[in-house]
Amino acid sequence: MLQSKSFVKKTRHGKVLKVVREHYLRDDIACGTISCTVCDNSKACLSSSSGQIIVFDTNVALHQIGLLENAAVSNVVVLSLVLEEVKNKNIGVYNRLRTICSNPSRNFFVFSNENHRETYIKGLAGESPNDRNDRAIRVASKWYHAHLGPTSKIVLVTDDAENRRRALAEGIVALSVHEYVQTLGNAELLDLIIRTGSEEAQTTGDAEDLRPSKRKVIYPEHKLMSEITSGLHKGIYHQGKLRVNRYNGFEATVSSESIGEEILIQGRMDMNRAFDGDVVAVELLPEDQWQANSLGKIAEDADEDDNEEAVGLVPDVAEAVTDTVAAGRAGRPRGRVIGIIKRNWRQYCGSLDPMLNSGGAGGFVHALFSAADRRIPRIRIQTRQFANLVNKRIIVAVDAWDRTMRYPAGHYVSTIGDIGDRDTESEVILLENDVNNKPFSKQVLDCLPPLPWSLAAEELQNPNRRDLRHIRVFSVDPPGCRDIDDALHCTLRPDGNYEVGVHIADVTNFVLPDTPLDEEASKRGTSVYLVERRIDMLPKPLTEDICSLRADVERLTFSVIWEMTPEAEILSTQFTKAIIKSCAAMSYAEAQARMDDSRLSDPLTVDLRNMNRLAKIMRKRRIDRGALTLASPEVKFEIDSETHDPLDVGMYQIREANQMIEEFMLAANVSVAEKIFGHFSQFSMLRRHPVPTPKMLEPLLLTAAAVAVDLDISSSKALADSLDRAVGGDPYFNKLIRILATRCMTQALYFSSGDLPPPEFHHYGLASPIYTHFTSPIRRYADVVVHRLLAAALGLIKLPAGLRDKALLTTVADNLNYRHRNAQMASRASVELHTLIFFKNRPTDTEARIVRIKSNGLIVFVPKFGIEGPVYLTGKKDTKDESDWIVDEQSQTTVSRDGKYRYKVLDKLVIHIEVVEPQPNRPKLQLTLVEQPNA
């Protein structure tokens, strides 16, 4: 094995510094063909007999990764040289390429040509590195040909004409990407090819926009990277992530650390081809151009008529803050983008805009693509199958955005399904929120215990597992819940105290660290709940059977058991693994009915009542400490079991039983958080809820002041008290204020305790100094981590290596935050989708409340359906003419010019909801004013 020749590679590094590295060449690198008799073919996946073997160069990988991802391309040799170059140029493409290579069904083999004795070449004098690499690729192709014998067919795919010419001269079959795809004989694949400039000039004559005479420079030039760096250094430019306004694609903000404030960027010109999420360099505009008009319109730019605000669900937490703040303050710094430091391009879901003359079939058509994500500009793509695609949801990737192009150029990637079809639209929601709903892989499923699972005898012998089967344990969950991860018990002890237990499914007993199952769960991070289905974090047998604490079966749990006085003071806390046998799996409604039915006095009902009494005391104590009671307008759909169409919609009802369960879950989480933090002060996975900044609460205060409610935001306690005092004329008023307050809150976050000082651990909403998630390991990965930490703290297991690594734990926490947020967005989008389906055949008049005043309309909230959207006061076409309405920002009122109509924030009004289709197959919800109360 030590057979090696030493070579020396010289590379330049940073300054003028010579780096010498050894480079060992080997003779034990396999060629990867199954039929090869010489090489070790234990990892081989290429079949030389069935057809050609493909070799491609770096540029093909960089530009045509979408094509390579298509299953039609297989039997491919990926050279390590190509991988290395791709890695240096674009890490995203590199990761995608690696994913293909690791998929055994794709037959992509990585050949380490740079370390192979016969395929390594030294650069010649005067040869550029690019030429050397091209030659290395040709040498490797030739080696394969020689190695596999004359019957083998090796095809080099490259778009470099010079390289092709030389390859042919050396006797290698070389094709361009276009030629290669044609040999595959699949027209759809041709759309996947990205046209690079040189290729396009050769192959197509119809590129009307590309003729020099028609090329008009639209956008200002991006500055050179060197200029940007020096400008950033001098403080002329500012760097930050561009965040496009969710409601207005022409407005964006860049939060820059260098000036400590958000820079507003308005209009396509100033955004200068930047996408949402791109890291950009911004130049500030002169101060006299800073925005003076304070109330933004609902939609800004008039030259694109479809860009008004959409009706949607109410945002949960502070997402909407940026744009309300943006609108609310005068004199904010404005800037324009002068360069893009890092692109955030991904693949986008959406649909093609219909065109009048869609061209002949089969010919190239330039079409415009509108993404489902409204923050993304339209993308121009070329397609041969316009007629096929126009009524489909498709995925498109962005390739380039030149100064001469009004819209970025992209290419078609794949089709999801028909527009308007519920499954397709759900798929779009999942894709847009980066939710993985692929079935679990075989490796993952192999980690599951054999089915049917039943309690093994050795578990009963396990001294660390307490047998609690004799105890009356029960669970309370939403109706139809299959993944029951918590159960409780509450028994009166002889001494008058209570023993209260919270039993959580022992998921970590089945999901062992460093298994494919664990990795998959860690990547998914959370289960995602859509209206009509659930995307599981763990495979179904675990979620619905083995871990689910169903009634009348023996299940393994991780339990927290307290001894409590009748005043709900915790005397002692015990943590233990246990075996339980639940006696009842109730829904909230059932549990509530039992507690309320005075005729019942069976032991289970008595337990429930005792618990409820304790919970009420605990809840009161928590609220006295300053926990906020916030409200969210959650809605619930009644779904037809056959068609899965929504039948009815209404606000989610919160009962005492819900609050009772919630109270004990909170208590368990706090107890566990204290325990694990006590043992692992550096590696605990905790959850914090940062205090909202005064700036975030500004819109709330503005609204409150307008309706003469005095809110004290000095602490969560003060806010909670002043929210309690805020009672207006009608019963819903208080809830509305709470909903508005909820929206100003920050998002709660997972974090690793080693990353922050303890005072930052505070959970604002719950007014708890420390908090974590322990109670739902079936559907949240954070809880799985916490279970392991707790088990290690109790000495039951060794702390897995992954949890001892501080940096790794931080990345896990970051991923969980990302997944958690996406899951919430996906759920909301799903509810929005179903709202749309619901209203399709049911135009409705209903009551709404004004939540915000804009210069050309009102933003209203419909409590009954939990939706929020704009109502236009001025006609849509005369957006320029604002003079009909006078807006008073201070009191949040708008009065019509003739004084006839007057609207104030939080006012009640009646609106009409219906689904309209301004363009075929593009349904949307429209709110219009029905009754206009007089001033």
Binding site: S6, S80, N115
Partner: protein, 241 residues
């Protein structure tokens, strides 16, 4: 960073359990009593031994055993960025001590009372694993000087990156943030004379890495033995002529 590709190759083309190429030359400094250069890949060290000779300062003389001294230094041209490196800095002092203790354990000091042995070690080119390379070079130089030893000392380093134990780290891997564990042992006696590591790793991983480093050291010992045999043969031939 990926230190091992999914194909199982390290950045320089080795597999995780492979040593770098070893090279050694004995008797490179005529004037000295013993000398040798030792190369592990791009790490190159020269060791020069003077002694046994009279103790220079009387007060340090030991009546029952020899005094062993060691001086470690790093040539200013040994790394890419050219900078003068002292021999009195913390790192050099520590390394001098480590090498001295390791070699002292090998030398039969009680056979040479009231005498002094000086070992000078200088790194000519540094590319990770200097500690192990210095010890190997010192062994060869001591053997060249004809100083009686219990056994030869052979040393090798191992680390743990991307959840894989890897042998004989080069500079790039050394700066990868993982543990760097150096083992020196007496191959015939099968005893460890040096075990050094500055980072925290779980015990089970430590055991794997330590075993790997010992295996590496044994392979190095084999190489040293061959080199010495070769050298001795040449000496015999020279004498016979």
């Amino acid at each position: 960073m990926d230190f091992i590709s999914p194909e199982g190759l390290r950045l320089d083309g080795r597999r995780p359990l492979e040593l770098r190429q070893l090279q050694a030359e004995i008797g490179v400094v005529e004037k000295a009593d013993g000398s040798a250069t030792f190369e592990m890949g791009n790490t190159k060290v020269i060791a020069v031994v003077y002694g046994p000779r009279e103790v220079q300062s009387r007060s340090q003389q030991q009546h029952d055993q020899a005094l062993v001294r060691c001086e470690y230094s790093m040539a200013s041209f040994s790394t890419g960025d050219r900078r003068r490196r002292g021999k009195g800095d913390r790192r050099a002092t520590e390394l001098s001590l480590v090498i001295r203790q390791t070699m002292e354990a090998a030398i039969l000091t009680n056979l040479l009372p009231r005498s002094q042995i000086d070992i000078f070690v200088q790194v000519l080119q540094a590319d990770g694993g200097t500690r192990a390379c210095c010890i190997n070079a010192a062994t060869l130089a001591l053997a060249d000087a004809g100083i009686p030893m219990r056994d030869i000392v052979a040393s090798c380093a191992a680390g743990y990156l991307n959840s894989t134990p890897i042998l004989d780290l080069n500079y790039l891997e050394d700066s990868g943030g993982g543990p760097d564990l150096t083992v020196a042992l007496f191959p015939k006696l099968d005893k460890v004379s040096l075990l050094q590591m500055d980072s925290k790793i779980p015990l089970d991983v430590f055991e794997k890495v330590m075993n790997l480093a010992s295996e590496g050291a044994k392979a190095v010992a084999q190489f040293i033995r061959e080199k010495l045999m070769e050298n001795t043969k040449q000496l015999v031939l020279a004498k016979g002529r």
